[in-house]
């Protein structure tokens, strides 16, 4: 087990390094950047440009630039062009809301994706399976911004329910429970929209592995014992198909964090996604580098956790 953890940690460190280099290159290697005003703008004096180059270490060779940026990022010297605050703290203040949204979305994706996937595998080849597949692709093909708008319009116009932000302002809630419910509601709607695609791909993925598991000898044994079909499916087959379910967390996260740019923007939800969109609009390069890096690092962390979780669930992994 400990050898497995050490190997997995070493891999994570290597990947983190590659990720930091990719994030660095995105901004540094592109022509015209990282000047927020463009290289040839005549209104900007040579002095301002020189200061800017010095501030972001652009006068140094690339490897040094990389080292400086990474150093600055963690020491708080990498500051936003917009408000000159350290980018890391700008990101960190958005982190709780982002984690809440993405965690909820993952929970929805995994639970309903599992149900749909098992349902499809159980009825493989029959109309229930075909309908299930169709519904899954329906969800994947739904443009996130479109369905967000439709839901937002529907809720606001038809039901008069406020949904923007993390809570309703200007309302005096009679008690803490009502206020909590209001917050939950504000979290749940964007989370559901965000989760649709992941739910669907999770169900497709799980269906495929469930079909593999259902062909195994131990499933025949389970049936021969007289176990109910639900027990055979959810206990014996699902537990052996859990790898995609757990690694699904790692696969869902990049899509979710990316997708939350659109969803958070529409629902005015104050997470990392909206911060990213604001940074894009303001050409706030330090924030963009840091956001890409932090998001990728979060995904990497998610992968590491899911692998460790899997090693706990399936004892055979330790032997691999």
């Amino acid at each position: 087990m400990s050898a497995f953890i050490i190997r997995r940690l070493a891999l994570t460190v290597v990947l983190l390094f590659i990720i930091s280099i990719i994030s660095f290159f995105i901004v540094t290697l592109t022509p015209g950047s990282p000047y927020p005003w463009g290289e040839l703008n005549p209104k900007i004096s040579a002095e301002v440009k020189a200061n800017f180059r010095k501030k972001f270490h652009l006068d140094r060779p690339l490897p040094e630039q990389y080292a400086f940026i990474m150093h600055d990022l963690f020491t708080g010297n990498l500051r936003s062009i917009k408000d000159d605050r350290p980018v890391l703290s700008r990101i960190m203040e958005r982190l709780p809301a982002t984690l809440a949204l993405n965690f909820t979305a993952i929970l929805i994706s995994l639970s309903f994706g599992t149900l749909l996937g098992v349902y499809a595998a159980r009825h493989a080849g029959h109309w229930q399976d075909i309908t299930g597949s169709f519904v899954a692709f329906l969800f994947i093909a739904l443009p996130g911004f479109w369905i967000s708008y439709l839901i937002a319009i529907g809720l606001v116009k038809v039901f008069g329910v406020p949904i923007l932000g993390t809570q309703s302002y200007g309302i005096d809630f009679p008690n803490a429970a009502a206020a909590g419910l209001d917050r939950l509601w504000h979290l749940l709607i964007p989370a559901i929209v965000l989760a649709l695609g992941g739910l669907a791909s999770q169900s497709r993925y799980l269906r495929a592995t469930m079909m593999e598991s259902l062909r195994e000898d131990y499933i025949r044994t389970a049936r021969s014992k007289g176990l109910a079909e639900d027990v055979v499916l959810y206990k014996h087959a699902l537990r052996n198909s859990i790898r995609p379910l757990i690694s699904g967390i790692g696969m869902l996260l990049p899509a979710l964090l990316g997708g939350s740019v659109v969803v958070e923007t529409i629902f005015a939800y104050p997470g990392m996604g909206r911060l990213g969109y604001e940074a894009v609009l303001e050409r706030d390069y330090p924030t963009l580098v840091a956001l890409n890096f932090v998001a990728a690092a979060l995904v990497l962390l998610g992968n590491l956790l899911s692998d460790l979780l899997y090693a706990v669930v399936d004892k055979r992994v330790r032997l691999e």
């Binding site: 044994t221 049936r223 021969s224 007289g226 176990l227 014996h236 052996n240 669930v313 004892k315």
Partner: protein, 277 residues
Amino acid sequence: MMLEIKDLKIGFSSESGITPALHGVSLSLERGETLAIVGESGSGKSVTALAITRLLPTPPAVYQGGEILFEGRDLLKVSDAELRRVRGGKIAYIFQEPSTSLNPVYTIRSQIAEMIELHRPDVPKSTADIDAEIIHWLDAVGINEPARRLHDYPHQLSGGMQQRVMIAMALSARPDLLIADEPTTALDVTIQAQILNKLRDLQQELGMAVLLITHNFAIIPGLAKNVAVMYRGKVVEHGNTEQILRDPQHPYTKALIACIPRLGDKRRRLQTIESIN
């Protein structure tokens, strides 16, 4: 008759139509007796064994006709709920490949406990009682220090031990009929004999019937009173083991018996079977 199979016909569907696997198989088995079904791979013996409690996945399997009368009821017609009571509780199975037949992610205890919780209302539901019952059966099949094996996973045991666990699991429900589908084929020769002897002892002790599926005629004498020889989806000979051994009627049976290697038979080459029609 406890089990009576009448004119069972089963096929497998594929893109190009239905390929027949059983062409009207008839068999019968008395309470407490042992019947061996012998035949080469593809003869339909395993299909017959699995068909008894409808364990063949449909599709691709298609039940095309016949009856499987168990204690007077046709298992092809009973409800799913009724069938689940028969599976495990009245008719239990052990399979050829113990390493893949046990679920790799659950402990021995958990897999046997399922059987007891489902089919043994006489055992109290407490952990201690169930543990005691499991230990009893693990001990009965010859597993050393059974209490220490409870929380092992299948991959921690040897093939022979895994098959013993399978047997313990099957017997823990106290079934009336045990169907053993090639129970020793995947095991070492020395272990084979141990397992078969254990099976015979337990059968006599518990008084259950056994349906033994095998490709190996050599293991049948002394184990099964009656034998059914299957060839290409048909029972070509069915009767007393001794008698068939002494005086086989069907050419395939003769060939099968001729293939049994015997001590002191130095001059003869081992026989192989060519196609017989």
